[in-house]
Structures are given as C-alpha cells and as structure tokens.
Amino acid sequence: MRDEERRDGDPSDLELVQAGRDGDESALGLLVRRHHAAAFRVAVSLVKEDDVAQDVVQDAFMKAFRALDGFRGDAAFRTWLLTITANEARGALRRRGRRKESALDDAIEVQSGDPSPATAAIQSVEAERARRKLEELPDKQRMSVSLRIEEGLSFKEIGEIIGSSEGAARVNYFHGIRRLRELME
C-alpha cells in the first residue's frame, strides 16, 4: 500500500491537522493514509525489520496526533511526522541496544529469510543490488538519499529530519549518491 496522493480539491495537510484538533477522526485517518508509507520507509530504513518498523510508525502517529496542538503550521506535517518517526526509530534501536553499523548483515538476513512484503517490492536484480548497497551507506547519507529520491523532500526538510543543516543534508545526499554509484560499478 502506497501513500495516497493528494488530488486537486482535497484538503491540505494543514486543513486536516486543524480538523483533527477539533476532533475530526476522519481527518486524522486521511493524514494516516497520506503519510503512512513514507513513515514506514523512514522507520524500516533505520530499524531494518518490518515488525519493528510497524510499531515505530504506530507510535509515531500516536505521538504526533497527541501533540497536534504543538504542531507549528510553518513546518510541513509530513516533515514533522517523519522527524518524529526517525526519533522513534532511534529510540527503538537504543532500547534494543543494537548498533546500526550492522546494517549490511541485517540486510542480508532479511534477504535470506522469508521474503517480507517490503523486500517483495524489489523486482529486479539491479534494484535488489542497489538497495543492498544503499544499506552500506552511513545513516545520514542513506537517509538523505532515500528522503530526497523516494519522498522528494527538500534538503531543508531532510536537514530537519536527520538533525543537520540544509547544507549538510545536501552534502550528505551528493556524497551518498556518488558513493552508491561507486559501489554499483
């Protein structure tokens, strides 16, 4: 299931947030439909396991909705949610005392086990190889590449999510994509 696209005439995220604050449950549901896939990708990129990522996404949405009053309209809801998701994922990693440097091993484990729905999406050999190599990048480079290409976020938004400046997010993206091309050669 991918995020539902916003069509012309659909309410904006900010309008949905305002309706959600007033108790409109369907508005919150629409925010979930729009952004759950992106949140899942951010979570699974950090925690590596589908099950843990799902818990992270649920916790992130609940935390975001409980804090809607604190949401500043000058930030995009999506960026705000993904920032919360990344923080929740880091928290989940800390709680498990797990080091993210084992990313490559983890990726191979996922590949060798039962194919999860996430890995089932990988349809070509080249795509599978690219995703494995992506896992080899340091966290901030990997997140910058994923968020820029897969979610279409600006470097400013990426900076907010990875805890860096806009400039650092840009550098991380271009270093990451260059390194990835080298790894793919």
């Binding site: 990708r41 609940m62 996430a118």
Partner: protein, 164 residues
C-alpha cells in the same frame, strides 16, 4: 561535459524520477543525459531506487486507522470543547473512587480551566461514550441523564461553596 550543467541536472534528477518536474526542466534533463553518460547513470540509479521503494506490509494501514479510532487522540480532541465538563466529571470519578462524600465536603475545589496535560491520557486508560461527553464510564453507566445532571448540579454547588 560542462560541470555546472551537470550540477544543475543532478539537482533535478530526484524530481524527474518522482514525477515532480516541469515540462521545461524535464526537457533539459532529457536533452542532457543523451550526451552525458555520468548524469545518465545517476538518473538510472535514482530511477531504480524510486521504483523499488519499500512498501508497507499489508495490514499496517488498517492497524493505524484502528488505533486512530480507538485511542487517545480522538478522546483528547473530543474533550476539548467542554473542558469544564471534563474537569467536573473527572473530579466526580476521583471522588467516587475514593469514597468521598462530595456534597458534604466544602473543601473540594474544582478548576474552571484545566491545562492540556490534565486530560491527555495514556492509551487504554479511558472510556468514552459515543457522544464523547461521558468521561467517567463505566462508573456512570447505570445513571440516567437526569441523575447525572443532578450529580453535576451538586458538584457545582459543592464547588461554589468550597471556593466562597
């Protein structure tokens, strides 16, 4: 190949693969990659990554929508329009739970306004009726609306008396 042009094109590549680009910019990228193998390779890689984005497992969306329906956010947001109501009802629940005789206790003070954190509750710790008014169920389940209104009046008297 002009490096400045390559830099410009590579800025645009993520938006090309995501379909978020104007016709003009798309034309510029397409024209450039015909002649520049480096940018063409980067475009291909970005396209591969975009096309193989992980997708959420089936069931995640339903699980999230369920939790929206059943958990705290809805309770919190429903409770907001009637903060006084909420505080009165919550105090009544607490008083009943402690076995306090409310109407005979002139010391009980009820806040007119409560801060946000006072009605932000952990998931699963709250019951709410379909109309969102009743915060103290199931303790009040058996009370009729009239009995409940009477109870509120008593509480209001107790509160007014206490603060006088």
């Amino acid at each position: 190949m002009n490096e400045t042009m390559c830099g410009t094109i590579r800025e645009l590549i993520p938006d090309v693969v995501g379909g978020r680009i104007s016709e003009t910019d798309l034309g510029a990228v397409e024209g450039h990659v015909v002649e520049c193998s480096e940018c063409a390779a980067e475009l291909r890689l970005a396209g591969t990554l975009f096309a193989s984005r992980p997708v959420p497992p089936p069931g995640l969306l339903e699980r999230l929508l369920d939790s929206v329906r059943t958990s705290a956010p809805a309770v919190r947001t429903r409770a907001q329009p009637s903060r006084v109501w909420w505080s009165v009802a919550a105090a009544a629940v607490a008083a009943f739970a402690l076995g306090i005789g409310i109407s005979s206790d002139p010391g009980l003070e009820l806040p007119v306004e409560v801060p946000g954190y006072a009605y932000e509750v952990e998931e699963g710790d709250i019951w709410v009726s379909d109309d969102g008014l009743l915060a103290g169920a199931p303790l009040f389940d058996d009370l009729s609306d009239d009995a409940l209104l009477q109870l509120l009046e008593e509480l209001s008297v107790a509160s007014a008396g206490g603060s006088a």
